[in-house]
Symmetry: C2
Subunit: 342 residues, 2 copies
């Protein structure tokens, strides 16, 4: 049970050539079944562990799919990674993860680090990169997938949706509920591209309804937490006490806002309607349940995986795969539709 047992050692012990050992460790390679079994037994007894680093160099294939996400502590991105990872692992591919803290400079560094590992594809969140980051992606010579967004000028493939357009549906719903004085919390810092897009989409939708959209509450740099949502709600009430409804950049901030209403004795949705984004579990459990948008985070990951697998077989042209989000109406904007809990 020592490290530095090499294929050569296994070969010698099994009485075959290294090449036969190498073949025994690959599913598809042609080795007599008995030979393979014997080799694997010997390898296990010797405590041999296959050395990918050598195989990677010689075969020029690492089995890595590189991924950058803004934050590891985010249930939406975690679901995407889980979906991606589950589909890829079936094909012997492994996710190599890096996070960017919602910062394009850090993303650039992450991209460079990841590309040095010679991944077979690279997935990035969103379409905003530094000039050099973009150049690195363009020159990578592997499939590049921008996810969770619809970039105006994609580097290569895209799997996502329009964060801005999604807000139209949300505003339509609130207007249909009879609200006119509607506020937005978050999305004020450019770093969170998708949050900023949602905010822009909100403003556009309000304008389309002929409504004023001056009720924009800043929640600071991402990630916007529950606490920031609560603080923003307090500020909103102070600044615009007659607000009827508020859309938050995510379910986390929306839940924070909801709790602030509870602390102040404001009834939701009667005194204040609240909506979020992301279909986090909390949205379906809290009291009242939260109106939100389901972006199908996991499916985004699965779709990215499928795209990568297909691209490996037949390198086709650029793909644009939309994953249409879905409005989920719940108790926080509609008394009739609360059905939360156990």
């Amino acid at each position: 049970m020592q490290r530095s047992v090499k294929m050569k050692d296994v070969a010698r012990a099994a009485g075959v050539s290294v090449m036969t050992v190498s073949r025994a460790f690959r599913k598809d390679a042609s080795v007599r079944q008995e030979t393979r079994d014997a080799i694997l037994k010997v390898a296990e007894d010797l405590g041999y562990v296959f050395d990918s680093t050598a195989a990677n160099l010689r075969s020029q294939r690492t089995g890595f799919v590189a991924v950058t996400i803004p934050s590891i502590n985010n249930a939406n991105f975690a679901d995407t990674i889980a979906g991606l990872s589950d589909v890829l692992s079936g094909e012997g591919l492994q996710v190599l993860l890096a996070y960017t803290n919602y910062d394009v400079a850090q993303e650039e560094r992450a991209i460079e680090q990841l590309l040095r590992r010679r991944p077979e594809a690279i997935v990035v969140t969103g379409g905003r990169h530094t000039a050099r980051g973009r150049r690195l992606l363009e020159g990578a010579g592997i499939p590049v997938i921008e996810a969770w967004d619809l970039p105006a000028e994609p580097v290569d493939h895209v799997v996502g949706f329009s964060n801005a357009a999604t807000m139209e549906t949300m505003v339509d719903h609130l207007v249909a509920q009879g609200h006119e004085r509607i506020a937005f919390i978050g999305g004020d810092v450019d770093a969170d591209t998708r949050g900023a897009d949602r905010r822009r989409g909100f403003m556009a939708a309000m304008a389309a309804h002929g409504l004023a959209c001056a009720r924009l509450i800043e929640a600071g740099p991402p990630p916007i937490s529950m606490r920031e949502g609560a603080r923003a709600m307090a500020r909103l009430i102070a600044l615009h006490p007659d607000t009827q409804a508020v859309v938050c950049v995510s379910d986390l901030s929306a839940f924070g806002a909801l709790t602030e209403c509870q602390r102040r004795g404001l009834r939701v949705p009667q005194d204040m309607a609240v909506a979020g984004f992301g279909a986090y579990e909390i949205a379906s459990i809290c009291v009242p349940t939260l109106t939100t948008v389901n972006p199908f985070s996991r499916r985004i990951g699965e779709e990215i995986a499928r795209l990568i697998l297909e691209a490996r077989k037949t390198p086709a042209g650029r793909q644009l795969r939309r994953i249409a989000p879905e409005l989920v109406v719940a108790g926080s904007t509609d008394q009739q539709s609360d059905a939360g809990g156990g």
Copy 2:
């Protein structure tokens, strides 16, 4: 801007040997400053991206630290990874993550996959492994760290705390509040070792107080979500309507339980005290705020990283580093101490 630009190409273009290019890409290596600058400029212009796979093989160092966690979608583990990753990245080390779905068989596969990549250290969650998984760890020839637990027979290093002992503090607190009929939700499936330990610790603490501990509500296989917490609470009320307090295996299930109380008009903490575990953000935001245990998830990761860095310099003996968790008393068990929100 093509892949397959190699160090040789950069060397030729810069009019130096490959070895000098190699040195230019390492911080510590001795190269004239002008030479280095010139080389890096040429490399950038040619679109050269350093090939780690080759460097890894030759130098027998990959810069990887392998980590297995039960689930990627868990704020506690995510915080540990973030702490670990942040400290390691300063030293040029990169986390290579795999998840196990709370399943030792899947952990075994993950460990093998990870070891093939020749990491320089491996971190696993908890001390329960398959026999072969344990053998793989023991023979890995690199520092092994078991985290988030205090295994009875550690493989190598340990950074964690006793999940069972932590429950004593919690039960003491509830008893001090005057409760006697106390229930526990979750931790019934062995797969979640730490959850099961908390449940055992709860039972031991109840026994120590001379209290009955028959109020154990099963919540099924991990991860225990908010929804399962809510369902378990409903069952608890049905089975033992006179229950005064309930300890949940995590803050997520505790929050679910809390919402179930709200839906039924039970006042928390007056009619039912509720406590969780993990110090998730929600515990400090929900109404009332949740009594919980802060395991200092991020610090666990940082401490693991420090241990690894020290072990690389001077391979010392086995380390056991305890990270003492802290009881956080809040509104869900103590009316006096609610201070939640913005």
